[in-house]
Symmetry: C2
Subunit: 509 residues, 2 copies
């Protein structure tokens, strides 16, 4: 079958499926429309439970809340603890479908990125969900909770940490299942639910949990419900994800903070040394200048390249919305650049700035780097390239607080904070079940589903490979959700659409 | 008179003055020794009043407290408000000495540098003064308040914001006067007290106050009691101070924080742009690479150069204590480097680091620079050199939040936060009254007084020049006082010695 013909056929099949008002999709939608208040109330309670990595008590409470959400829907749930004590457990549930030949695991994660509440907009707080009439950046106003009988607008936003990333995944999956069953439909596959609690930490114990429950987690496919849909608003099926590793850097200056007048010009300033080090890592087009950084990359297949070429290019519009004059990457587009390894400065800090700044020579300067990896990169090898580069800039590299002897010996010292990383993975675009998922998702939308070889974001797909699982990512969140930052939000239309997407996949035979 | 002979004579005179147990110095000391508990209690109450620039209510309370300190000592005090409303007033007091031919104004400032309480060591808090048995960095332990009849140790430290900079100045002056009078001695000059409340903000309204009170402030000399004594512990008389101006920089990235995976490699990172900008400002020896930065400097006179050559060189010992392997300045010593203009990064910040770091491309990156100036530099011209340099690095420079049109047009944008600065000043080393002060200070110490042409730190001496006043700086604080930073402290021995220094100057005829 010619490729273009295949794509047209998928769209055709989907439009047929979408056509009638009594289709499965419409039944799910009608159920949701009459139950929005209940669903939204539950979701806001879910979002109100803090879920940052440092707060293990609240992570346990979040897991318990999900068990409750399952119980309400008649799903028998259980916690899957890691062997390592103190680790947030995965939440597991199962629905057997009589006669089903295949089993699909639906994955989302319930932990969230760290928060700095002071950085959130006035009136917002990470764990006090707030509804608005539209995105705050587009004139949205705070609105009260909807009333019984009222229907939400699709552009309403709900602001809270993890509202998009990735409690939205948990909610879309469980509410999608509920809508399917309550609208007198039934799943076509056996369904397993798997909700992780350490994704934003790099999933350090996911292997333990997954490998310790091989039989329980046996499946034909994992659907990873995480990340945003395409910037165009079109739904996406994503075949892989970049790997990821963080690197923390601390540069040392004088042992105590010094008056910048009495010691300025003489005592070395660690903020300057860090600036010089970071500046040496990229050129003015944003290309990484670390030796060998772009080596090891396995090129895309012809099919993947073709899929990439069909991804709508909205770069100009997004750039306009984000208000910057020149993108990095020397003219390559966003989709192309996502298929390359990256180096990003997540944050940088030395002493204080603005009203808190004092006239001092700081004692240390810190930065956190984020390295994204593509197929072929190894996370440890990628970090080693960065370390070699730092050494070539004249720095002594240690992973401990430097000793006095080291401080006395080395003019420039970097302490590296070790982080665990993982590599990129990709599922073949030739896999029949994967194409069936594309068709199912297409049935829920009048717009073509975008097929993406690799997500820019990262997911611990390598862990699933250890139990020979196949994964596909099917995201639900809006692209402008501020995930990982202050003012995270979900567009309600995306949450509701996500229910339909998940229900449609559950109806695969 | 040959210069070396002159120096020996000063030391000789001083040792004669210091010799007898009934000398003025010893009377002041004995008074202090029997009143330490009262003095320390008062000082701790004084330190407990917050005095940061943003907190005008507490600055007014600090000024009132000083009025009370004066009243207790029989000094009639008054507030000298600026014409501009809302400005912390100067606190003024006066003591006329029958038959006195000369008038000396004693200056200190009661406001403090900003605080970030989270950065202070465990158990310390900026406005809860805490006594320790020695510097915490040298094994000091927390100790309770001294009891009646007990004497403090000279190496005890008192930790609080402004404990050294510069409530110590206010305390040394007023307690020195008290000890002088209470030990049945009398001043030899008319004394005026002048305590400023905006020094750490760059004294933006000091001119208004000083010029508005020309007659009241008529004098032969101002003694500026601020800053640290020499690192050797030797007392100092300082003939000038560097000028100072801060420059705030904000670099802009995408308008909202972005997921570093979905947009990394494409959306420009403002932390990198700031790092590249800062890195371009200095070379690896710390020399400023901004065009013309070292122009305009008026060289030291032969006498000043000679004084400089006599300043004890403790660079190796200080460097060891501060634990760094290589000083900036390409081999020049600290005293020499202080006589050059400087550029220091006070602080740097973009998004978050460490446990708070998230995988984002930040929206902005900020830095605060501190430029110190020497005689001949003009602060506005020095800032203009920095701005020209920033433009040459390809940045559009604005003093406002950039508009969308500017963001769309300029790939690199810096917002400059304007600050007011002031120039350096120096008093001639040939001035007879200045040399009399050196002799008076020398009487209080068995170690030679260090004469310094220019302090590394800055003082608004230019303001006093407007009313044709002559200034000399006579500091009291220990050099390792963490002034301007967390864990600021005063060594009690320095506070007590400072009382003796101030009392001795009051006894000049």
């Amino acid at each position: 079958m010619k490729k273009q013909y295949a794509a047209s056929l998928i769209l055709l099949l989907a439009l047929v499926g979408f056509a009638g008002p009594d289709s499965g999709v419409h039944k799910v939608r009608r159920y949701r429309q009459t139950h929005e208040l209940t669903l939204l109330t539950e979701y806001m309670q879910f979002l109100a439970i803090p879920n940052v990595a440092a707060d293990s008590a609240n992570l346990r409470q979040t897991a318990s809340f999900i068990l409750g959400m399952m119980q309400k829907r008649g799903i028998k749930g259980q916690l899957l603890p890691a062997k390592t004590p103190g680790v947030p457990p995965a939440v597991y549930g199962e629905v057997r479908t009589p006669g089903a030949k295949r089993t699909i695991v639906f994955y989302a994660h319930y932990d969230g990125q760290p928060v700095n509440a002071a950085q959130w907009a006035s009136g917002l707080s990470p764990f006090k969900p707030q509804l608005t009439s539209a995105a705050l950046t587009h004139g949205g106003q705070f609105i009260p909770m909807m009333q019984a009988g009222e229907t939400s607008g699709p552009d309403w936003r709900l602001y809270a940490r993890s509202s998009s990333d990735d409690k939205a995944g948990v909610m879309a999956i469980l509410a999608g299942y509920e809508a399917l069953v309550q609208s007198k439909q039934r799943p076509g596959v056996n369904i397993k639910f798997f909700f992780e609690g350490e994704e934003e930490k790099g999933s350090p114990h996911l292997s333990e949990i997954v490998e310790g429950n091989r039989a329980l987690l046996a499946s034909d496919l994992w659907i990873i419900c995480d990340g945003p849909v395409h910037q165009s608003g079109q739904k996406q099926v994503v075949f892989g994800a970049r790997g990821d590793v963080n690197v923390g850097l601390t540069v040392y200056g004088p042992k105590r903070p010094l008056h910048s007048g009495h010691y300025g010009n003489w005592a070395p300033n660690p903020a300057l040394a860090l600036a010089q080090l970071l500046a040496s890592m990229k050129d003015s087009t944003g290309r990484v200048t670390i030796e060998g950084f772009y080596d090891d990359v396995i090129p895309l297949t012809a099919k993947e390249q073709q899929a990439l070429s069909r991804v709508p290019n909205l770069d100009a519009a997004i750039q306009k919305e984000l208000s910057f004059a020149r993108a990095d990457g020397g003219g390559q587009n966003l989709s192309e650049l996502i298929n390359q390894p990256s180096l990003n400065i997540n944050g940088m800090r030395s002493a204080n700035v603005g009203a808190q700044a004092a006239n001092v020579i700081p004692t240390t300067a810190e930065a956190t780097l984020d390295l994204r990896l593509v197929l072929g990169n190894d996370w440890e090898r990628q970090v080693a390239k960065v370390v070699s580069h730092i050494r070539r800039q004249g720095f002594f590299v240690t992973t401990q607080e430097p000793t006095d002897a080291e401080r006395a010996r080395y003019p420039r010292i970097v302490r590296l904070t070790p982080h665990t990383g993982y590599n990129a993975e990709r599922t073949s675009m030739d896999l029949p079940l994967a194409q069936e998922v594309v068709v199912a998702v297409q049935r829920t939308s009048t717009q073509p589903v975008v097929q993406v070889p690799t997500s820019g974001g990262s997911l611990p797909l390598h862990v699933f490979k250890k139990i020979n699982a196949t994964t596909l990512t099917v995201p639900v969140a809006n692209y402008d959700n501020n995930q990982h930052a202050e003012n995270e939000n979900i567009r309600l239309g995306n949450l509701w659409d996500g229910m339909e997407t998940m229900a449609a996949i559950m109806q695969l035979k």
